[in-house]
Amino acid sequence: MNIINIEHIAKVYQVGSEEVHALSDVSLRIDKNEYVAIMGPSGSGKSTLMNMLGCLDTPTSGKYDFKGVSVSDMTDNQLAAIRNREIGFVFQTFNLLARSDALHNVELPLIYAGISSHERKERALSALTDVGLRDRIHHKPNELSGGQRQRVAIARALVTNPAIILADEPTGNLDSKTGEEIMAVLHEIHQKGNTIILVTHEEYIAEHAARIIRLRDGLIERDEVVTNRKAPKLKEAVN
């Protein structure tokens, strides 16, 4: 099934008197349970594309259908609802609420989804257990290691059962060993049937995905299937 269907989208920013074409003409489809990496050097438009895919921003022109519903001209509140229910974000800088413990951070999207506090707690606990942090639920971000923080963020992304997980440089702030662990967690999530979109500029990270979309100057340069896909050592990672 087609989750994301983008046709000829462009994004133009007005910087002073100059127009900047962050995305010129991008068309792309992503199906359910795909594992896609979006690559490109800085300035290639991959951040803009990610914001677009994550419904944080709307295109200047073109068509974006998410699960068959047009996103292109949704209001702020409708976009917020889509982000809440359908998209799970994993950021490079984790973006956890610093003053809240792991449990509350994971509960947060459920609060905005209007789910009762009892069910919320249950689901957040189960998501934290899935990423191996059952015994760290009352730790605040500054009491957790980088890898653990990213796991909390992954639990937060998963807790609403979203249609896609959008991971923006998820290993960018981690050492390579921890990064590998996080990739293993993502791999496992993918194995369970989730759709993952990974934004990165590191080739060896992108190679975890099954498909790589390369951007340059606001255009898709190449869209290829990965042949020599990396499979992380699962056992070591989760537990």
């Binding site: 944080l56 509140n77 947060l108």
Partner: protein, 411 residues
Amino acid sequence: MNNFLFELRESMVIALRAIKANKVRSILTMLGIIIGIAAVVTMSTAIKGIDNSFQSGISSLGTDVLYVDKWAWFSNEEWWKLRNRKNITMAEYEKFRELAKLPIASAPDTKTNQTVKYGDRRVEGVFIHGSISEYIRTVNFDFDQGRFYSDIESNSSRDVVVIGSEIAKSLFPRGDALDKTIKIGPVNFKVVGILAEQGSFILGPWNPDNLVYVPIGAIFKHFTNEAWNSLTFNIRAPSPAMVEETRNEIEGVMRKVRGLTPGEEDDFSINQQEGLINNYNQVVGVIQIAGLFITGLSLFVGAIGIMNIMFVSVKERTKEIGIRKAIGAKRRTILGQFLLESSTICLMGGFIGFLLAVLLSMMINQFIPTAVQYNAVIIAIIISLITGVLAGFAPAYTAAKMDPVEALRYE
């Protein structure tokens, strides 16, 4: 509706978390509101206390009493014109009494300033009022013990005295003043009556609690010459409704007594409490407006403080707002979160301010009888809420309309 309550409750929890997480800042912010609310409530309490006292003082003097005097209480006349009037004398009082038919009671009144002593206790600068026994019928006094001096005592200028409650307390802390002999200046007087507390501190030197009353003859005998001072006549009308009629009669009789020809101006004034009340209302009105303005100003400054802190808080939490928006917080959720935060700060501040006001009122109560206005609680709550919402709105709105992409990028 359920959904709304859910959001409200969750936003409340988030707001409380934020306040708890920034204790020092929250308390500093609250200070403005605490001071503002404490000032407003204390002010209204003090004004009410002053008012109560005035009302009880006024009623102890009687609303149907007129005062014939050389001086006018409130007038536009030149001061020297009043000074040049002839003194009002006892002889004039006798004539007046013969001619005036309407008044149900009238009494001359003069006063002198003396030290009052009993043993080694003393009160300095007490006004000693001299009158006749009928004086008691021109006022509304209650007695704690004893009685007013009698006809015989006043006619024969006996050295007897009736004392006000404060004087009695000062000289006789054990409350055994009756029949004791006190010294007024160098002269011995026997206490025949003690007045009950009138509680009208606002009248200052005219507060009966601080006065003593002796027969007028005793004053002339011991303290002052009759010719030195002008008398006041206290005259009671038959009823409050007859005050105007009585006033007209008094004017006619006084003109006759003082031998004024038709063309001449009155060389006396007829004073009335109405003037006092009007004047009082004006003064209290000004105090009220000034007081509310000043205290309102402190509340306003407090509100600006809150707005300022909320702006800083929004700026500082830009990233947090970005995160919340990214994971699905709607505009109104963010708006609600910050509005609730500022309202909660204001409500807490209002509550603390009110408690402070109660304490302050207790302290003021040592000097002025105050009455804490418990409906002021409701007003305080409403004011704090409104302040919170108003001060919080602009910052909250700024937060609500932030672009999530920009906000997430903020460091």
